[in-house]
Subunit: 289 residues, 2 copies
């Protein structure tokens, strides 16, 4: 089984069962969890946990929790009162299939499920509990006002105005970067790594998080609808300031390479085999979708 | 300082500060957290913790987390794609003031903040961590698909149809009952109570939770807009099946008294002074708003 299969296998096992009255809600949750994607965040949890000597069995619940939070954010982002996107990963977005009310509640329930999944894994003994609450604290703080949701708000406020590079960077650092950073820190934390390693993982995550968003902005200009699974050119259409509109494509590509190289350098503090994390960051910087 | 002041004092301390770009979001969170209410859930956490020998300082973060979850659920419930309510507690509902997008995100952020608050409190040492993850597990499972959000879905599905008593009870047991039950269990858990006491607290919570909802249904028929702080008669207007429409007012009042008496009986397993919890359940059954 490769890592994506390993993650998806565990992830789908957390989809609630045996709920008679709430079938629609469960179907809606399942629809979005099974919509594919690169599973980058859970893969980062697994890789950093392995690098710090942790077992996959212990890391998987935390990896899955991150993917649940990411999935809930996509469902809520697509809602009509937010980005109003009809398509996601080449399929109709959640609310187009299940309605706005169910999509809203599926997102809410997925956020709860993430914390339920982590706390259930952490409940076995005091040692697990302490590592577990640390991970819960990382994820909850990176997905709230000071992280992902805060980034969303900046994104909304930047709509239809000429935002500057500082505000676009602050937005992306939180909206996309926070969860990627969380993944790297959580992987180390669950494996019991020391503070130096957690800091290096955070820095790695920060760098690939910004690089990831710059590549997203580039692809919105250079890719095709089919390749991307959603309409390209949406940033320009929405008059949105992006790295590309502010810096131009050449400077953007240059920054992606620099950020990726800096990320790889952060891996030097680890003793183990960092090949997988090096390859992951290079692949992300060179992706076509 | 009475308990409501104690709770509100702690609760308002968790409102995020120093966020430059996200002022709107923080204002929206503050608006709903400060909108008043009876603070029943956090009071139950405190009272059960005290009854089991716990300190208020340890219980308060968990009490506040519950109120954050309750507040997020009210913000999302009022959204146009849900109940579409313009008023809440005598004031315009959150999205009428801050817009749907910010209201949605404020709810999302409040849910994260609840788990951030609990995990931060639990992080001090292994003993706190274990009690903390137990509380996080209780709250996350009672507010997701098998609890509050599941109840919301049943409520949506029961709209405009003649729902039976079983389905109305299942809805209320989850939509309103789950968080009240969570409060009672969390109070005992954080104070380190044994399984027998936690079970008794759950049963107490179950009883007053259903009684609470029956009183709500009664008040929707017998109260006035001013007294209730929201439009009365909304259930009948929405063709909603309620305890009152299914059982009639007299049978409803009878059931409230019976459930309250049974709740009070559950308190017998506790050694400490149960006066406050007895009074609370009696007050809730006799409330006018």
């Amino acid at each position: 089984m490769n890592d994506i299969e390993l993650i998806e296998n565990a992830l789908y096992g957390y989809i609630p069962k045996d709920l008679v009255f709430e079938k629609n809600l469960v179907d809606s949750i399942e629809y979005s969890l099974k919509a594919g994607g690169k599973r980058i965040r859970p893969r980062l949890v697994l890789e950093f946990s392995r690098l710090c000597g942790g077992g996959d069995k212990e890391a998987l619940p935390y990896a899955c929790a991150l993917e649940m939070i990411h999935t809930y954010s996509l469902i809520h982002d697509d809602l009509p009162c937010m980005d109003d996107d009809d398509m996601r990963r080449g399929k109709p977005s959640n609310h187009k299939v299940y309605g706005e009310d169910i999509a809203l509640l599926a997102g809410d329930a997925l956020q709860s499920l993430a914390f339920e999944t982590m706390s259930k894994a952490a409940i076995t003994d005091s040692r697990s509990a302490l590592a577990g609450v640390k991970c819960i604290n990382i994820l909850s703080s990176y997905c709230g006002t000071a992280g992902m949701v805060g980034g969303q708000v900046i994104d909304l406020e930047n709509e239809n105005k000429q935002a500057d590079l500082e505000s676009v960077t602050e937005c992306n650092r939180k909206k996309t970067g926070a969860l990627i950073k969380a993944a790297c820190e959580m992987g180390c934390t669950i494996a019991g790594a020391d503070e130096e390693k957690i800091l290096a993982a955070r820095k790695y995550g920060e760098n690939i998080g910004i690089a990831f968003q710059i590549v997203d902005d580039i692809l919105d200009v250079t890719s095709s609808d089919e390749e991307l699974g959603k309409p390209v050119g949406s940033d320009a259409e929405n008059n949105k300031s992006t790295y590309v509109s502010l810096l131009g494509i050449d400077e953007c590509k240059c920054r992606v390479d620099k950020l990726t190289a800096e990320a790889i350098e952060c891996l030097n503090v680890f003793d183990g085999d960092t090949t997988a994390l090096k390859e992951l960051s290079l692949k992300l910087s060179d992706r076509k979708k």
